[in-house]
């Protein structure tokens, strides 16, 4: 393999973006090679330049970028190539798999037509040939009943199937290299496992090199042959996957690997049963979203019963569409309860009036998923954090609340000056910490955290979770922690509720549920979670393969 020409050969690549805030040096002197049939994972945090590097291979970077260096794609230097020749190379030499399959497909054309688009763009094919090829490709990526479904529209496929179709499109012209930009980030873990399996098979069949961009070390361990770690635009380490995980050389790589949450099944002491009433008690809870005219209402939460005791951290786990966020919103009074009973801080939420629930709101904090939108962009952080204090009449205005706000910001380790900044001047992790400060401003009895770390980088996530645990222990509020990540639950929760299609699949102590799941769905969820360790992941893979065959 070493004698053959590399599929991609990046030499001293340097990309600079000119912005209003001065030039941003996104990629500095990166040299990389991808051999045919190899899976190279580029890992790094957001802003490390991994996506820019990979997109440069296809020439998909904004006009404001200045590119220096050389990038050989099958012997041709992409950097100096004309737009016309570049277009010819796209699809035939290199193709791309996008992060979000639902936006990568055009909703108004059947998938077969879109699959054939690449064929039509690169040479004369008859409609029949194109169609035949499209069906063939759909079969290859495991779409059942491909000959019929080739005429279906994207919305008729599930998320995982859509990503399969995107992969089929990328493979249609048999390119030498495929750029996969976070191909599984938008998918659920069980679907992610299937897609990774598919990519592995296709690599074996077509011998296509894959450049995999990801921040998920589990995915890296599962799929990659070699790993390139990027930090602040520089390539700091390249090593075969086993070597990298076993003995990372660079300081940053070590930090990155240490930050990856793993299932450790820590046995944390349970909250002692007390006579105090539960903070939240749901009994046969049903939440429906009204359907369109003439359609049945959509039942998002179906007959769910659980409770949260004072001071307890309850992890609510499930895939997208399982109803976990809906439950969180219902507890916060943002979504109406349809049936059953939901008691929050002693108030029955079925048919509750906002005016009667409002006084209870001071005992309730909420941390939202997306740190980018959870602050009013026109107010400073101090003003935002002061909002609950002002609303509940503890302080007349933001200036008067400043002392308390500074105290809160210190509690989440955002010292003094951060209060005067605007939300967009803070990083995602800092904003999420400020969000936590706002949630605990009134010393609540209950905190609802809806995927608070899913939008953050791994190392930032570790930091925020650690802080979360500290603050929870210090203030002793009960917490509903909503997440799709089992490893995160393992870090924080006393007890876990696993949701599946709006119903509870399993609930119990964290250690029991994650250590010895009794429900087949929980079992599958745990099996699908890629372990950030290539050796163990390979072992698990062969285990599950022999189990299924």
């Amino acid at each position: 393999m070493a004698t053959t020409q590399p599929a991609v050969d990046i030499r001293d690549l340097d990309v600079t973006f000119s912005t209003d805030g001065g030039d941003v040096h996104a990629v500095r002197d990166v040299s990389l090679q991808v051999q045919p049939g190899e899976v190279l994972a580029i890992v790094g945090e957001s802003g490390s330049g991994k996506t820019v590097t990979a997109r440069t291979i296809l020439g998909l970077i904004p006009e404001t970028a200045t590119v220096r260096g050389a990038l050989y794609l099958g012997g041709e230097d992409v950097v100096t190539l004309s737009a016309a020749r570049m277009r010819e190379l796209r699809g035939t030499r290199a193709a791309m798999i996008f992060q979000e399959p639902s936006t990568a497909l055009n909703p108004v054309f059947p998938v077969g037509w879109q699959l054939a688009e690449g064929l039509r763009a690169h040479g004369k094919v008859t409609a029949q040939q194109a169609r035949r090829r499209a069906v063939e490709m759909l079969q290859k990526v495991g779409i059942p009943d491909a000959a019929r479904r080739v005429n279906d529209y994207p919305h008729q496929f599930s998320g995982g199937q859509k990503q399969r179709i995107v992969i089929a499109m990328a493979l249609a012209l048999e390119p030498d290299v495929i750029i996969a930009d976070e191909p599984t980030t938008a998918l659920d873990v069980t679907v992610q496992a299937e897609i990774l399996e598919l990519l592995r098979e296709l690599r074996a069949e077509f011998g296509t090199a894959i450049v995999l961009i990801t921040h998920n070390m589990g995915v890296v361990a599962d799929l990659a042959d070699r790993v390139a770690v990027m930090f602040d635009g520089e390539l700091i380490e390249t090593a075969p996957v086993g070597e990298l995980f076993a003995s990372p050389k660079h300081e940053y790589t070590k930090k990155l690997l240490a930050a990856v949450p793993r299932l450790e099944l820590t046995d944390r002491p349970q909250v002692a049963a007390s006579d105090e009433p539960a903070v939240v008690a749901a009994e046969h809870l049903v939440i429906e979203y009204p359907g369109r005219l003439g359609r049945k209402a959509f039942r998002a939460v179906d007959d769910v019963s659980f409770e949260i005791r004072p001071g307890e951290v309850l992890g609510l786990v499930g895939e997208s569409g399982s109803g976990k966020t809906t439950i969180g919103r219902a507890i916060a009074g943002l979504t109406r309860v349809s049936d059953g009973s939901l008691r929050v801080l002693g108030t029955e939420m079925l048919g509750v009036r906002e005016s009667s629930f409002r006084p209870k709101r001071r005992d309730l904090g909420f941390v939202f998923q997306d740190p980018a939108t959870s602050f009013n962009p026109l107010l400073t952080i101090a003003q935002c954090v002061a909002e609950p204090l002002i609303v509940h009449g503890i302080a007349p205005n933001a200036a008067a609340a400043r002392d308390r706000v500074d105290e809160l910001l210190t509690a989440v380790q955002l010292l003094g000056e951060y209060g005067d900044r605007f939300p967009h001047e803070l990083s995602g992790g800092q904003r999420q910490r400020a969000s936590l400060a706002r949630a605990i401003a009134l010393d609540p009895k209950l905190l609802i955290a809806d995927e608070p770390t899913s939008a953050l980088d791994v190392s930032v996530q570790a930091r925020v979770l650690e802080l979360f645990g500290e603050v929870q222990e210090r203030f002793g509020f009960a917490t509903l922690f909503i997440t799709h990540d089992l490893a995160v639950v393992d870090l924080l929760a006393h007890r876990v509720v696993v949701l599946h299609h709006g119903r509870i699949a399993e609930q119990g102590h964290t250690k029991d549920v994650l250590g010895s799941p009794s429900d087949p769905y929980t079992q599958r969820l745990l099996d699908s979670l890629p372990v950030p360790d290539p050796v163990e992941q390979a072992a698990r893979r062969s285990r599950s393969r022999s189990a299924s065959s």
Partner: protein, 331 residues
């Protein structure tokens, strides 16, 4: 430094700093033309050689009708014996008054209704939207004529004329502000920071005015400018049709154009060209500002580097569709 930062947050100044190349040229041209007319309007008493309704010079002698340009009357006189140059200069004052009154009235009503409609929703929203659509269906000029008659009862003095024009324009423009603010309010309402305010227990008026309103106004300067040019055209149209302001109460370009119709065929060009040119130029100037603000506000139309692209991730996000234009635009 503080002042600079503050200036940078002002609508037009902010966009001007963002702009480059042709778009900057367009914006600059628009600003210069509009600024020229604004200066004329403010300093009309000093700039204009005569009053708008002056028929005789200081010596007590009448100007005479249809005097060709040159000499004492740089741009000649009209059929009624007014000085053309003075009427053009004074006319800009009337135009600006109409813009200010019309836009102020419609902004306040439109924004408030849009905010209520968008945030509260439900049947209030439906009723308001239907009314707005109904008003939309009305021809502007017809409405303006009716309003003009009702307000001034046919007698057009300065205030009557200005308010007739302004109110009729207001009625037509309220739906525009209403719709824009409503759409923004609906969008902002779903943002996490509004939900966060709800969870905190903030009362509805506080959420509406502190959190939703201020985040919904980013397109206002744009409609504001586009509506201003339409306001001028409506005023001129009213004057041209004879529903404008009497020449003795104020100078008004549309009226002058109306009077000059018969002159055109007899080769007297100066009575129609200059007021007409004034209308074209001011509308052009204001529209140039509006259009460039529109282009600059839309990241897909803006030929420039995006502000705040501090990390490579931001720069990439710029090219990815959908991406984060919403969050990027709000600061």
């Amino acid at each position: 430094m503080k002042l600079r930062a503050f200036l940078g947050r002002l609508p037009v100044v902010h966009q001007f700093r963002q702009s480059v190349g042709l778009q900057r040229g367009m914006l600059l041209a628009g600003l210069i033309i509009t600024g020229f007319f604004a200066v004329m309007a403010i300093f009309a008493p000093w700039l204009a050689p005569f009053g708008y309704n002056q028929l005789t010079g200081d010596d007590g002698e009448t100007f005479g009708a249809q005097v060709p340009p040159g000499g004492e009357h740089l741009l000649g006189t009209t059929v009624g014996g007014y000085d053309v140059l003075s009427r053009v200069i004074w006319g800009s004052r009337t135009a600006f008054m109409v813009i200010i009154v019309a836009v102020l009235l419609s902004v306040f009503v439109g924004v408030l209704l849009g905010l209520i409609s968008g945030y509260i929703g439900g049947w209030v929203d439906r009723v308001l939207v239907v009314i707005a659509d109904a008003v939309y269906a009305f021809p502007t000029l017809l409405l303006a004529i009716v309003a003009g008659i009702v307000i001034s009862r046919g007698q057009s003095n300065l205030l009557g004329g200005v308010f007739a024009a302004a109110i009729s324009i207001t009625v037509v423009f309220i739906p525009q502000y209403f719709r824009v603010i409503r759409a923004e309010a609906v969008r902002v309402k779903a943002e996490a920071f509004v939900e966060s305010a709800k969870v905190v227990g903030a009362p509805v008026p506080r959420i509406m005015f502190r959190h939703v309103l201020r985040n919904s106004t980013r397109t206002l300067p744009l409609i504001f400018t586009l509506n201003s040019s339409e306001a001028i055209l409506t005023l001129a149209g009213l004057g041209f049709l004879g529903f404008g302001i009497e020449p003795t109460s104020a100078a008004e370009w549309g009226y002058d154009l109306n009077r000059s119709i018969s002159d055109v065929t007899s080769g007297i060009w100066w009575t129609s060209i200059f007021p007409g040119l004034a209308i074209v130029l001011i509308v052009l100037g204001v529209t140039l500002i509006g259009e460039s603000l529109n282009d600059l506000a839309d990241p897909r139309l803006r030929t420039r580097r995006r502000a705040g692209a501090a990390t490579p991730a931001d720069a990439v996000a710029e090219t990815t569709p959908v991406a984060r234009e919403d969050m990027g635009e709000v600061h």
